[in-house]
């Protein structure tokens, strides 16, 4: 019984720690996004300011990671996104992508 209680406590602690990490990442993503992306993609990524900038809010997070890494490597070329993505670390790319994916915006349409 004691062992089970310990195990439950350990699992709870692990989950709590994960939740804190996720919240940290989300907050870091929001900060970085407002600093680097909002000028063109709009505040909260829902209403782009630049006419050919896409909506980011609600996008698939892994797709955003893929796109940012492609801009960073030069596999996908864009005069604005290339230099911007080159300044981002893997962690920043992940945080920004997860942040935008949590906002209301894009949806699957068929």
């Amino acid at each position: 019984m004691k062992r089970i209680t310990l195990m439950v406590l350990a699992a709870a602690a692990l989950l709590a720690q994960r939740a804190v990490h996720a919240a940290d990442g989300l907050e870091a993503g929001r900060k970085k996004a407002e600093e680097a992306c909002a000028a063109c993609h709009g505040k909260a990524g829902g209403k782009p300011v630049l006419p050919n900038a896409p909506v980011l809010a609600g996008q698939q997070p892994e797709y955003l990671v893929h796109a940012l890494k492609a801009f960073r490597s030069g596999a996908r070329e864009d005069p604005l996104m290339g230099p911007l993505a080159k300044s981002l670390s893997d962690a920043e790319i992940r945080d920004i992508s997860v942040y935008y994916s949590t906002l209301p915006g894009l949806h699957t349409k068929y």
């Binding site: 006419p51 896409p54 698939q60 070329e77 005069p79 699957t108 068929y110």
Partner: protein, 110 residues
């Protein structure tokens, strides 16, 4: 941002507005029919693209029409690389692209 980046950004901005002004008028109703071919991947919630890279296909519902047009035209010309999307876009006319973009950009319905 240094002077060169600023100049590049300025030129991109001018080009973006110029491109936005030169768009073909898209017909969302026609785009609905023409988008049937897209639905096989983009119409399935969280559908994962398996080739050439594994990641979920982007959500298109509610996306900016100008961005969708640019993406399809870049795939068609080969400026943007993605084996399946280059194949898909190859057969589309400017009008098809405008219609499909109008369909995905329109409203919040399915």
């Amino acid at each position: 941002m240094n002077a060169f980046n600023l100049a590049t950004a300025g030129m991109a901005l001018v080009a973006a507005f110029a491109a936005a002004g030169a768009l073909a008028q898209g017909d969302a109703a026609a785009g609905r029919d023409k988008s049937r071919i897209c639905a096989g991947c983009h119409g399935i919630q969280d559908y994962r693209n398996a080739f050439p890279d594994v990641y979920p296909v982007p959500r298109l519902g509610g996306q900016v029409d100008v961005y969708l047009e640019k993406s399809l035209k870049d795939f068609r010309s080969g400026a943007r690389k993605h084996v399946s999307m280059q194949g898909m876009a190859a057969s589309l006319s400017d009008q098809d692209i405008a219609d499909i973009a109008a369909y995905y950009a329109a409203g919040s319905g399915k």
